[in-house]
Amino acid sequence: MTTFQPATESPTSHIGARQTRVEDAALLRGLGCYADDAAIPPGTLHAAIIRSPHAHARITSVDFSRALLMKGVHGVLVGEDVKRWALPFPVGVRQPMEHWCVAVDKVRYVGEPVAVVIAESRYLAEDAIEGVRVEYEPLPPIIDPELATAEQAPVLHEAVGSNVVNERHFRYGEPEQAFEQAPHKVSLKVKFPRSSCTPIECYVVLAQYERATGIYDVLANFQGPYALHTVMARALNVPGNRLRLRTPKDSGGSFGIKQGVFPYVVMMGLASRKVGAPVKWVEDRLEHLQGASSATNRVTEIEAAVEADGRITALRYDQIDDCGAYLRAPEPATFYRMHGNLTGAYAIRNLQVRNRVVLTNKTPSGLNRGFGGPQVYFALERLLQHIAVQLKLDPLDVIRRNLVPADAFPYRAAAGALLDSGNYQAGIALAAADGGLDELLKRRDQARAEGRIYGIGYAAVIEPSISNMGYITTAMTPEERRKAGPKNGAVATATINVGPLGDVSVHVSSAPQGQGHQTTVAQVVAEVLGVALESIVVNVELDTQKDAWSIASGNYSSRFAGAVAGAVYKAALKIRDRLAAIAAEQLQASPEDIRFAGGKIFVVNGGAVAPFHRIAGATHWSPGLLPEGENGGLRETAFWSPPQLEAPDDKDQVNSSLCYGFVFDICGLEIDRMTGEIHIDRYVTCHDAGRLLNPALVDGQIRGGFTQGLGAALMEEFAYGEDGSFLSGTFADYLVPTAPEVIEPMILHMETPSPFTPLGAKGVGEGNNMSTPVCVANAVADALGRSDIRLPLTPSKVRTLIGIDEPPRPAGMEPDENLDAVPAGGPALRANDSVVIPASPQQVFDTLLDPQTLAAIIPGCHDLVLEGENRYRADVTVGVGMIRARFEAKVALSDLDPPHSLRLSGSGSSSMGSAQGQAKVRFVELENGHTRLEYQYQVAVSGKVAAVGGRMLQGASKVIIGQIFTRLSQRVSGQAISTGWWARLRASLGALFGKGGAQ
């Protein structure tokens, strides 16, 4: 293989320099061009998506007639349209599952698109959501992935007949024998939660269907197009050349998450077709958090056969991946991206794996930085720590004893990964020495001697990069693969053009989202062609109709440094070779003696010199004078795919990635015994990512990945209620690390170049997303002496691990058992309160039974219609936090025991979700004849209200329910209750003029 050689004799080397970024000049001025900044064609309409408030339901009807009459509305796209024009998305396993871009018969997760309103502005489109009436027949949801595997579990896709949509068993070496012979068997069951790296820019799609040509022309901040372009084209039922997909220059972060834009590319293409105009859609944050994408949550049972000294002779994985409601491409890749290197940094020859892909009523999972890694290492590295505890060994010794020997590279791991290069022993030694491990161990001793809770964790991680596009076929059996034809490789693409003035332009097919690709590409080209870095223009936009691209993993799987920069290097060499031949003739030297530096092309050892632009310009201005075989023009495209990325073989061995970097982390942390809060004392992270092309950018990647890893460890989780309600719909509910919570990690580097990439570089962007969650978990396990560590390690969870005895409930605070009868919803909450009313219990009781009173005391009640005895239909506007919605409600008074107690209950649904609640009301007579009205209530909500209002719910329900009884009190005691705005105005004017308010 070609490995990196200094390309010039110039002493100034660009490759490896801490070059500041080319991108920053525009971004810092606010002159970036993100998808929502792009100019839109005149007449562009805007879309708003109606989403399911139910986790699992049959759609019985969608009536949008009222929406069509609303201001500015041009049309509504529904399942029927989609069925007429499009196809379901292709999936990676052979199962009769249909995933359409808009639900056609059933909804299977909260937030699933059901219809798209298209109007003249985003505001008007959102208004018109109210005009679409969707009737559902709710079905029992299934949220827990283990319960979903049970035979009696509700099934999401009836045609499949089971929620387990793919199951594969793998066996490498002789695992049964190794387990039989092992003196120790150590096992652990772990669960990895759902989270997302949440880019700050949400999804944006601008689509135009060209009726004359049948072309869908789409601009989106998609992280692609690559393999998923074919998925979109097939869903749109067009050949690839009729889906022109473009990505803008800048993207506000992705971390894999923007791969999830692809269903919306199809949806908005169809929306444009429906209304005959360009359609733009900008996702909002609630839509993003609840319905965009998520890391796959996993349940793993892992077991090791272990010798007395900690050496592992065999590993057994039993893994369940919860991919959500649909198996969306590229799933089930979360499993198979890591498959070849499931034995991690360790020389374990015997391996047994059972992988089950399970569907549940959650948002479909997808790419998220670290993809598959955090899940695998959370099991494997927790197990290593657990083995040490069980066998009373030093965890670091257990790690060291199992490492792949330093002289064994390239090393073929049990499941097929060809670990390209490394020296894991040296990495650990470097981290321990420069990271001050001895000092950290002393600090732990001292802290523990003082009664403080301190722990140290380690994580040794192989960071794969440059995915094999064939790894996903490991989900199929060898027979199925033979039928489907082999898939392998990963093509990187780069094009360099040199213009008539000697100006150099580069295009890479990579679609970056902030990694600084323009800078690094310019560094490589400047080095090879000897021109000024600043003079090079790098274009990172992508247009599938005009640019060179191929099936590869795009910018995912950290393939930029190894593959894309490598392709740039290859293209630059092609240009240089052509220029050297031209210069050799003009300068009368041999091509081998031609050098490039300082904007000049010259003959080695002080020979003849010519400006770069003159030699390059000759290809345009005087092609007739060029050497033979030189056709003129100067543009070269390099396609590069490494031969090591072979298709999975018949024994299911797969080299799932080209490069395997090494990360070793040490974390020292202290836990606050009172609050359960974790304070990271020191975090050391040592990386071997092969040759570093720009160390400043590498450190930036590590810091970012570390911070996201810390977030996953300590606070980030997509929470779901038992009914499938999504409970993390704002950045106040889904917490991500902010500056005060983040510490600066100590970053250490070593460089073992990859023999397989043109520049010796490996990927580096994802290591800490894989290593940090488990490293922190191991430190907490060490601190608390516990093995049952669940992420995220929030203070309350840690406090529970520390162990506390809950004090008994104070007298009078016992819960009313009857209240538990409220159906389980999202965040159910209970509370009680009381109010004293200057009237007798009988008076109060009778007043409450009066419909007029009821209408007056329910806050936001517009209308109350008697439906039966003490049962009413009401129209109520309720606000929780930022959400205000009009509910069609049912209100009832029951369990009447005059004048002692009754039950007040209500339930309602709106476009914002549904709510139900009930209150047990007691009327206690006081000595002065007045009444103390005691009420104990319980409220449950689902849908959008639950997703964004969770935090505010407690306060809001206290206020709303408090208002009911305060108003009752006012009504009974003869004070007027005013409900209309005019009355409120009168009251406040009254207050203003000192006449006493009515309220």
Binding site: E201, G252, G253, A696, E744
Partner: protein, 168 residues
Amino acid sequence: MRVTADQTFPIRLELNGRSREALAEPRTQLCDFLRHDLGATGVHVGCEHGVCGACTVLVDGVAMRSCLMLAVQGHERRIETVESLADDDTLSDLQQAFRRHHALQCGFCTAGILMSCVDFLERVPNPDETQVRDMLSGHLCRCTGYTGIVQAVLEVAAQRQTNKGVKQ
């Protein structure tokens, strides 16, 4: 002034030193108005509920979330966005420090962070790291881990103090 929901209202304001006017409905968010009606696309919208801070602009010199303000609230106010920070050719000291310290990657949150920093350094000219991190807690950045941002702000504060000392 009283307007109804579907009526538009002429909003006059000073944007980055220039007097601007356009029509807005009473419900139009200030961020949307600045971006789509006045073309200040440097204002970025990340969450629309006041947590991420990407949309932060200066209103009469004070850092504000433009997603939590209505366009009508910007009427006759002085508004500065990230586009105001650099001269034609030269980045401001803060922008240069951000570049030196690799304080941005995707750049989406950066616009708002810079505006908060401008306001903050006016009020707290000599902050310590804790104060800087506390100020940044009003912003979410998913790329950088905040290190470069903290370093850049501290460096600019120190530079400005030195420059002030020299002038005196």
